[in-house]
Symmetry: C2
Subunit: 144 residues, 2 copies
Amino acid sequence: MTLAPADMLCFALYSTAHAMQSAYVPLLEPLGLTYPQYLVLSALAGEDGQTVGRIATALRLESNTLTPLLKRMEAAGWLSRRRDAADERQVRLTLTPQGHRLADQAAGIPAAFAAKTGLSLSDIHDLRDILIDLRSRLKPPVGD
Amino acid sequence: MTLAPADMLCFALYSTAHAMQSAYVPLLEPLGLTYPQYLVLSALAGEDGQTVGRIATALRLESNTLTPLLKRMEAAGWLSRRRDAADERQVRLTLTPQGHRLADQAAGIPAAFAAKTGLSLSDIHDLRDILIDLRSRLKPPVGD
DNA sequence: GACGATTAGATCGTACACGATTTTTCTATC
DNA sequence: GATAGAAAAATCGTGTACGATCTAATCGTC
């Protein structure tokens, strides 16, 4: 007998991830950011000047996803993409002043999202850690 | 201070959903299915002859996502798309014999996936229910 | 039974996501 | 210091996702 999507863990994960992105739209739209762009911005706010590859490892994305996304963020004036002088294969990403300001504005978003869930901080952390555990079972991190 | 993606619940959800889809590839590729196509197939295996709108509600997708996906599945010979005689606005989806055979082959996939996670059945159900709870907090189901 | 409002899908445009391949640069070893 | 192999991004093609809009069919009300 075929299991219905409604009963599948995978579908719960898939549909909840969509619901999460959808819940982020009203938080990100005023800033002009998409959800993956918000992740890149947050990663660079924590450590500026990272390479594309380092961001790719952190966000578990490929260069073929990031390159066009980063070009859009560069076109929006939030970051610069420059080849590393010491190793010209690498591209370093640096936030512009506007990018830093945007990151400051975005800093309150996780709290706003947490409020939307109606969950306690400890429930949020527990769920996060359960998901990270499942993720590591499915796809162990590469470099990093 | 900006929270790093690695510490965010939303990123745990986002990246674990990607890891899940990636873990499904070796299970689905031999059948020629993508992950959302697998969901449609499973939904129709449980109840054949559903409308596009009913599948959309069940999978929480929009018609603009489903229409091209369903056309690809029709082109692959797995289902037929026919206007309902009683209400020509609706399109009914019916599995072909090949579609039924494919669904039979796909019926073992959830168990194979569960094995990949290394989690117990009860852990899987618990996590599924936690995710469904979060999903309903973020985006209550519409029709259904 | 006409006609405005609603509903169901489809179409269009934009933005991910990723497999496969390509280009450029660097490194290792001779 | 030439060169094979490795590494980092970029490019290309396909398949989701979804907001906005469009079209065709049905429903509600008079």
